[in-house]
């Protein structure tokens, strides 16, 4: 078993009203960042977990996302990085 650091992005599902993202988009436009088309505000989790290899670590975190970390009704998740530590 080795230890891995797995990063996960969880964001509101596309198409659902995202008032936080909209508020940030508006603020960026006010600051002059007119090129910003859209912003989504979500969560970033860093999970340190032991696994046989990177693939197993990713699989395990994927299951964590499905069962707890992301709400299947309203959120999408993306495993951004799996790094051996």
């Amino acid at each position: 078993m080795k230890r891995f650091r797995v990063s996960v992005h969880i964001v509101p599902r596309k198409g659902l009203l995202d008032p936080q993202g909209k508020a940030v988009t508006d603020a960026l436009h006010t600051l002059g960042f007119a090129a910003v088309a859209d912003v989504h505000v979500g969560r970033h989790l860093v999970i340190e977990t032991d696994a046989a290899d990177a693939k197993a670590a990713e699989g395990s975190v994927r299951e964590m996302c499905t069962r707890l970390l992301a709400n299947p009704v309203t959120e999408d998740f993306e495993i951004a990085a799996v790094v051996a530590t």
Binding site: P12, L17, P19, Q20, A23, L68, N71, V73, T74
Partner: protein
């Protein structure tokens, strides 16, 4: 009738709900500690309002793993009445007792105010003493009350008569202006398929005393009494 009110760490309406049952209904009620595995013979379970587990991760997400919730889910599956109020509604959704989810209010503001609800069905344990179209005034106090589900789920809820309460204006119309959190289809409360589990964001337990501005919450408890003694 014996009512069990679950106390999670961070619940803050558990004592209110307990007092509502004991003092206003003159029925038996007991607090159920989240770490217990025993419903103590409760016929009905109230999942109260508050901020269980600090709303960490998502409102209600962690509370669902409390030992007592295994018993609550088993009770619900046996057809036992459960009402989730505010944070309790969020917990009931996270626990899979009710479909959908409660998201951050569209305004991004915590809303603490009285709202008007329209009763949409009397086919639940908690509304059988009400009338369809009846308007009820109750307080809300939440930051994450925007009921959200996919279109297919919403259509199914409507078709099966499981939308229990909607936010309406003074004329009884479900307008955007009357909706305090941007919930889909102005939904304030829903039921499971059997009408035994109901979740709602407004607080009926805070609308039982004339001194507090409304006694409209009473009809939910009267419905429950009628159902349990039927």
């Amino acid at each position: 009738m014996k009512v069990g009110v679950v106390s999670f760490p961070g619940s803050n309406c558990d004592e209110d709900a307990l007092l509502a049952v004991v003092e206003r209904l003159d029925e038996d009620a007991v607090l159920l500690w989240h770490k217990d595995h025993d419903l103590q013979g409760a016929d009905v379970v109230i999942l109260p309002g508050g901020f269980s587990y600090g709303d960490y991760l998502r409102a209600g997400a962690i509370a669902r793993f409390s030992p007592i919730m295994q018993e609550v889910v088993a009770h619900a599956k046996r057809g036992g009445p459960v009402i989730g109020i505010c944070n309790g509604f969020q917990i009931a959704c996270e626990a899979g007792l009710l479909p959908g989810a409660l998201l951050r209010n569209a305004s991004l503001q915590f809303r603490s105010m009285p709202v008007t609800l329209r009763v949409e069905t009397t086919d639940t344990v908690f509304t059988r003493a009400a009338e369809v179209g009846m308007r009820l005034t109750m307080p809300i106090a939440h930051g994450d009350g925007r009921y959200t589900a996919d279109e297919a789920t919403l259509d199914r809820l409507e078709a099966e008569g499981r939308v229990v309460f909607r936010y309406v204006d003074a004329r009884g119309e479900a307008t955007a202006a009357a909706n305090p959190n941007g919930s889909m289809r102005n939904i304030a409360g829903i039921a499971n398929a059997g009408g035994t589990v109901v979740g709602l964001m407004p607080h009926p337990e805070r609308a039982l005393e004339p001194l507090l501005g409304s006694t409209d919450g009473l009809v939910l408890f009267q419905s429950l009494l009628a159902a349990v003694h039927a």
